[in-house]
Amino acid sequence: MTDRPSILVPIRVLEGESVPEGVPELLAHAHVVLLGYHVIPEQTAPGQAQMQFEDRAGERLDEYETIFEAAGATVERRLVFTHDGQKTIDRMTTEHDCRAVLVPNATGPVEDVLVAVRGAVGVDRLARVVAGLFGETDASVTLYHVAGPDETDEDVGTLLEGMVNRLEEQGIDASRIETRIDRDQEALDAIIETADTFDTVVMGETDPSLSTFVFGMPADQVADRFLGPVFVVQRESTLNEEEG
């Protein structure tokens, strides 16, 4: 078996969120880190919720684990009671060294994948995730870049070319890869618009900034408006950067 990318699949297990249709198939070639979490109000001690809900949540996770395994994934699972869901997701991502976090939305059989390539930074991780997840499927992969005003066609060409090469190295046939470039558009809107005709989106994580603080992370906005599953590829952890 090739290198299975670890994908974090967070599910609010007690609020009726379940594994949406198509997601187990989507993750057939992944190592799924199944995170069942339950966000509780501050008036409640996490242990209190655990005392009451652990069994029920555990049963549901058992079910989901079976579904993922039946589809072909390897599964590792955690159940967390928390006051702060985002902290839990971030911690799990780091602890399990997940390459991407999936925003689990329903999808049909995956035939085409949109990969939003933002810049040269992180293309390696992006390529590994795409190759790991879709290398052994027949899905076509579209590399998409929204060019800024001071980027020449040549720059963008080099960027996407590099990405195609990486994917080829990792076993994706070039005939399955397409590239697409748009200009003069706001990147986020362009991605969401383009994504409409695709089954799933793979994109990079953005650095937190004031606008992400106000409007939320771009990946979350895409997930909210696209309504299909979105893989958010994580930045390299600082530890690895220091080593590199």
Binding site: I40, T44, A45, P46, G47, A49, M51, H83
Partner: protein, 476 residues
């Protein structure tokens, strides 16, 4: 990440056949880990911990007690607050060690039940629950006084005293809010505490400068021990309610991030900060008016002090701050009381039902009602000093026993006891802490002592009847 195993195995069962919930497998900086990969996330940082401690404490010491304390002890009330602060510090240090060794929900109750056994644990745990109710009721009556002062300020003459009515109203509203509210209360608490500290720092700086004569005049130096020496100690016993908050940090120890670092800092830090504020406040207040006049103003004396310095805007600012502070103290105490109920119910000392979580709101409605309901009865008495002293009594018993538990654990040194913070000056600090805690009780009014002892007795009998077979003591 430091991961420490937890190796305490509770056993036995209560009358209803419930057994204590199993202990977690390990405690990390970010979680408490149970078996089967179940984790409880830690989400409260240092700022949150300090806000709980300071927010619980500052309401009483600054906004309710200055008038009462000055009336009792004169200018020497400053010394009373300093004594209270010293005792709190002597207890906060050992508590920090225990909390880093056992960062679990329930605080003092948890340490004592694991260190000294179920009987002591039950007395302290039930006492903590009731003590927090007395404290909450005390804050709510204080809140009633401030709200009444607002009416007086607006010139609304009421044919009756609205103090108790308003206290009851806010008590009921707080309980309802805690059950049905899902807004981010911790963030609000942080902001409230921040605002309070800023307002107070400004006000007190002005007051101190005024008192030493910068703005002309200065104040008439008064005889320090104008009421004699003994009232200094009885006043210290009375105002000790102003120092109960640091133990509330320990009741949420299970939710504090990096407990080894943040718990000691939050507990000791909040005690030091409020002690400074208290001492300066009393100094400023007594030098503005002299103890006699200050005493006549009663619970809302600080409003008059502010008016004296800064006119109407000062009075309004302190009124607003007083409302905020007493409200946040009452709120924090109700939430802590509900945590105490949870810890007791987890260990089968109360019915499991008591910590049940509401399916609609996700809040522990039974525990919150079990705290909020009796609080209303206590508020209805309107006895500020009695409520304060009983609250202090029940906490002081816990404080003294925590110090004893620390000494017991250090002497036996069981394998599972490995605190990351160690109290300086062992065994003197915990020994003096225990003696001082128990000693302070002797200076309370007989009625408070009587009620306190009654609560302990009932707690013990409840334990014998309901959970006599439950063993919680760690292997030592």
């Amino acid at each position: 990440m430091t991961e420490r195993p937890v190796d305490v195995e509770p056993g036995g069962q209560n009358v209803a056949g419930e057994t204590p919930v199993e202990e977690p497998e390990a405690v990390t900086d970010d979680t408490t880990v149970h078996d089967d990969d179940v984790e409880l996330e830690r989400t409260i940082g240092l700022v949150g911990g300090l806000a709980i401690g300071i927010g619980t404490m500052i309401g009483a010491g600054i906004f309710v007690f200055p008038g009462l304390a000055a009336d009792n002890a004169g200018l020497a009330a400053t010394l009373s607050f300093a004594i209270g602060g010293l005792i709190a510090l002597l207890v906060a240090l050992p508590t920090s060690e225990l909390a880093t060794a056992m960062p679990r929900s329930g605080g003092g109750y948890y340490f004592i039940s694991r260190g000294m056994g179920t009987a002591y644990g039950a007395i302290v745990g039930l006492g903590l629950w009731l003590g927090l109710m007395f404290a909450s009721a005390f804050y709510l009556v204080g809140l009633g006084h401030y709200a009444s002062a607002v009416f007086a300020e607006l010139g609304v003459a009421l044919p009756f005293s609205p103090v108790i009515g308003i206290g009851l109203l806010f008590g009921a509203a707080l309980t309802a809010l805690s059950i049905g509210g899902t807004e981010n209360t911790a963030k609000i608490q942080n902001v409230v505490v921040g605002v309070l500290l800023v307002v107070l720092t400004g006000f007190l700086s002005y007051g101190v400068l005024d008192a030493v004569g910068v703005f002309g005049g200065g104040s008439v130096p008064e005889q320090f021990f104008s009421r004699g020496y003994f009232p200094v100690l009885t006043t210290a016993a009375l105002v000790f309610t102003s120092y109960l908050g640091f133990a509330q940090v320990a009741t949420v120890a299970g939710e504090i991030k990096q407990p080894g670092r943040n718990l000691p800092l939050a507990m000791v830090g909040s005690v030091l900060i409020v002690t400074v504020f208290y001492v300066v406040t009393i100094f400023v207040a007594t030098s503005a008016f002299g103890a006699d006049r200050l005493g006549q103003f009663g619970e809302t004396a600080m409003v008059e002090v502010a008016r004296d310095f800064l006119g109407l805007p000062g009075a309004v600012a302190i009124l607003g701050a007083g409302l905020l502070a007493t409200f946040s103290s009452a709120n924090a105490s109700i939430l802590s009381a509900s945590r105490a109920v949870y810890a007791l119910s987890r260990d089968a000392l109360l019915p499991r039902k008591a910590s049940e979580v509401n399916l609609r709101y996700g809040t522990p409605h039974v525990a919150l009602l079990a705290a909020g309901g009796p609080i209303l009865v206590l508020v209805a008495t309107g006895q500020v000093e009695l409520l304060a002293e009983v609250a202090s009594f029940l906490h002081l018993i816990m404080y003294g026993l925590m110090c004893v538990a620390l000494i017991v654990l250090r002497r036996r040194n069981p394998e599972w006891y490995s605190p990351s913070y160690r109290v300086p000056g062992y065994p003197v600090v915990p020994a003096v802490g225990a003696l001082a805690s128990f000693g302070l009780i002797a200076f309370m009014q007989p009625a408070s002592i009587g009620i306190g002892i009654l609560v302990m007795l009932v707690s013990y009998l409840w334990y014998r009847y309901y959970a006599g077979d439950v063993t919680l003591k760690g292997d030592i």
